[in-house]
């Protein structure tokens, strides 16, 4: 990769492109991780409704 860029434009195009793709993955990953982290939490809203 190191020798593959001849202009700053090339470098920015490649790194920005990869970063944007990672960001799409990150948005999905954060949502999935949040669900994994909290899906066993007690449902406070349901408890209030039962009361």
């Amino acid at each position: 990769m190191e020798g593959g860029f001849f202009t700053l434009q090339d470098f920015m195009y490649f790194t920005k492109g990869v970063t944007y793709l990672i960001m799409v993955g990150a948005l999905i990953a954060v949502t999935a991780f949040w669900l994994y982290l909290t899906d066993r939490d007690e449902d406070v809203t349901a408890e209030h409704e039962e009361e």
Binding site: I22, L37, T38
Partner: protein, 390 residues
Amino acid sequence: MSASRTAVSRSLLTPFNIVAGLILAVGLVITVMRFTGGLGAVTNLSDYNPWGLWIGFDLLVGVALAAGGYVTSAACYIFGLKRFHSAVRPAILTGFLGYALVVFALHYDVGRPWRLPYPFIVQPGTTSLLFEVGACVALYLTVLFIEYSSAPLEWLGFRKARNLVVRLTMVLTILGVVLSTLHQSSLGALYLIAPSKLHPLWYSSYLPIYFFVSSIIAGLSMVIFESSLAHRYFHDKMDETHRRETDGVALGFGKAASLVLFGYLLIKVIGLAVDNNWHYLTTGWGAWYLVEVLGFVALPCYLYAVGVREKNLTIIRRTSGLAVLGIVLNRLNISLVAFNYHLPSSERYFPHWMEIAISVFVVTVGILAYRFIVTHMPILYEHPEYKDAH
């Protein structure tokens, strides 16, 4: 010697006290050597490596691990999570002692420590990051001292002064968060000046953000870690409220730490992508970088999540130790291991044993101060005269 005096002297001769006494004795001798013979007498510092273990460990690690104070008081007073209230005083105490020891250790490292106040009175130097770090640390140490002072004021019975300090809680908390945000990130920004000295895997224009986000992880993990140690060694000093709330603090802070670790992992990956540093991952330095990121960021993130899901406090408490170690490793990697990576091994820095001894001495002073304060002052319990008064 009477029987009671024999019992007292025997109770003082515990293995902990003997070891601590030896460390203090060695530390005091080296202190005399440092201030009579100069830095060269006790350190391996050089023009290539002007910042060594005392900056890497005592300052960078000390400031990061003292972040529990602002994290906990922000959670309790700004975000209104009152169920963490019992964790605030121990966290403020750890923060205060942490910063006090940072300043104490800085006196050893700075060539002419009596000039520490110079940036404020002689030469403004406001364009320097070190000025900002110095100003924030000095101000935040003052803020932490005032926040902490409610405990000794209760202990000494100064009711009016104590009530005044408690009324200032919200202002002090906001000041604490602002000052911490500024100087935690600025400590990372200090290394922005050395792009050719720090290995590309650790150097990033995002260093200030990395330092700030990882300080939140350090603060959250340190509160869990310290509370588990306090539970083991100072259980008799805790009141019922503290014992009841401790598990909730571990679960809540474990969940927060897991989420922040996940975010930190993501921004580390983004840092690699922005600088296109992927190819370094296949080198020896890359292997060490992966040990740090996978072993001390991704692994504690996952373990915290498992602990929170299973409501397993043992996993959470052990993971907090791993996360704290990860912060220590990260700060040492940036300041010592990956710094000057291009120099031949003969020019590389390795701390002199007396530098390590002074760092151990500083930590021991902190532990002894913590033990004295927790044993005498209302830190892990509410003072009977001020129950529910804050």
